[in-house]
């Protein structure tokens, strides 16, 4: 096992190097490419920290979807680039900021070196959650998300919906109800169409697989939903499908489904199992899987809508 420590050092220096590049790169495009590479590298770091669940989320959301969001934003912003030239900050400000940033990083690093020993841990509680209320979940992270800290997870879904509402409300008043601007303006080339047509069905299958194994192995609603979202975005980027109108009934229902089902089950737990968000023993696992299924639907619709942006055209009817 003598290779792994070397690998760790190489990985850490790569992460810092690429981060440095994204900060210092001259143009936006280069810095976004750097950011996508940075997300991939971080996913490998998470694997080394024994966190494949986080690695998958980071690769899908942190690197992939965020990258596409920034590229699309840069493209839309590019049309306005003629405005004010960028101001370069002065040398004294640079030095001052550098000192501040070094101090903050140094303090954080010192705190990390002085972390308490033995380390505090909530793992026993999570183990209890995995074998107790969320009976039969072999993946402790899913047990934590769906049982031990279920309230957090539900509120997090609501945050996602609020974010979509926030993005939509930024659009012009007269465009309300219309569809967001398409992710690709011109007709796609044949290879892109082929890629999207082949990738999307396989991707949907893999997304569902990752959601389904999430109960017992790394994976789960977040990762599966993010992969499905990515596949929908691929079809939109290849212009196989346009973004839907934001007043579409099915879209809104799909987005609200996750937290709504979660909340109803939580309330039902208050009546049937004695406390808010308690699952009735015996059928806990199927109930959790059902909630997660609706959460996948919500994530898979909310993420692409966040990337597509506010409605852009006047609804034509």
């Amino acid at each position: 096992m003598s290779v792994l420590p070397v690998l760790d050092v190489v990985l850490a220096s790569l992460v810092i190097g690429v981060a440095l590049f994204t900060i210092t790169a001259r143009d936006l495009f280069a810095s976004v490419v750097g950011y996508v590479a940075y997300g991939l590298l971080l996913a490998f770091v998470w694997i080394r920290l024994y966190a494949p669940d986080v690695a998958l989320t980071e690769a899908a959301v942190g690197s992939g979807v965020t990258g596409v969001l920034l590229i699309t934003a840069g493209k839309r912003l590019g049309a306005l680039k003629n405005a004010a030239p960028e101001m370069r900050p002065g040398l004294s400000l640079k030095i001052l900021t550098g000192v501040l940033a070094t101090l903050v990083a140094g303090a954080l690093g010192a705190a990390i070196l002085m972390l308490p020993d033995p380390p505090p841990s909530l793992a026993p509680e999570a183990a209890a959650a995995a074998s107790g209320a969320g009976a039969g979940l072999k993946n402790p992270i899913t047990a934590v998300l769906m049982s031990y800290r279920s309230f957090d997870t539900m509120l997090e879904k609501i945050v996602l919906i609020l974010a979509v509402v926030g993005v939509w409300s930024v659009g012009a008043d007269k465009a309300w109800g219309g569809a967001p601007a398409p992710l690709r303006q011109s007709r796609p080339y044949a290879p892109m169409v082929l890629l999207a047509q082949t990738l999307a069905p396989v991707g949907v299958l893999i997304g569902i697989h990752i959601f389904w194994t999430g109960a017992d192995a790394p994976g789960g609603a977040f990762q599966g939903g993010a992969l499905l979202a990515a596949m929908w975005m691929v079809t939109m980027m290849a212009r196989l499908a346009g973004p839907p109108r934001i007043d579409a009934q099915w879209l809104r229902m799909a987005m609200v489904a996750g937290p709504a089902v979660f909340l109803v089950t939580g309330l039902a737990g208050g009546v049937l199992a004695g406390s808010f968000f308690a699952y009735p023993p015996g059928i806990a696992k199927p109930v959790i899987l059902a909630i997660e299924g609706f959460m996948v639907l919500s994530i898979a619709t909310a993420l692409p809508m966040l990337v597509a942006g506010p409605p852009s055209e006047r609804p034509d009817q």
Binding site: L20, G109, A123, V159, V170
Partner: protein, 112 residues
């Protein structure tokens, strides 16, 4: 130097780098990128807390890891709102900068 300490120090360095970019870049999307760097640095610190908290038969403490997963998704939602606001702001003002001097110049933020 264990792998977890190394990852933690990497996280600290990322926070520092992100802070530097956040303060100095006048371009709003670059600021957003820098902010995301800070975020992932903080997530890494969470990660080593999870790694150190290995107990009860797990190789990691699942609670901080679960929080990082929700954190990544929430960070993305916040970035999406920021992007929407940036685009709207530049459409209104035709300015693609957050530099205070440009905005306070007599003819700077004219379209308000």
């Amino acid at each position: 130097m264990t792998p977890s300490v190394l990852a933690g120090l990497t996280g600290a360095a990322l926070v520092g780098l992100g802070l530097y970019g956040l303060i100095l870049h006048p371009h709003p999307l670059r600021k957003l990128l820098a902010f995301n760097l800070i975020g992932s640095g903080v997530f890494l610190v969470f990660g080593i807390v999870a790694r150190r908290g290995a107990a009860a038969g797990f190789r990691f403490d699942p609670v901080p890891q679960a929080m990082v997963i929700t954190g990544i998704v929430v960070a993305f939602a916040a970035s999406a709102i920021a992007v929407a606001l940036i685009l709207r702001l530049s459409m209104q003002s035709r300015n693609v900068t957050l530099d205070a001097e440009v905005w306070t110049r007599p003819n700077g933020g004219d379209a308000t």
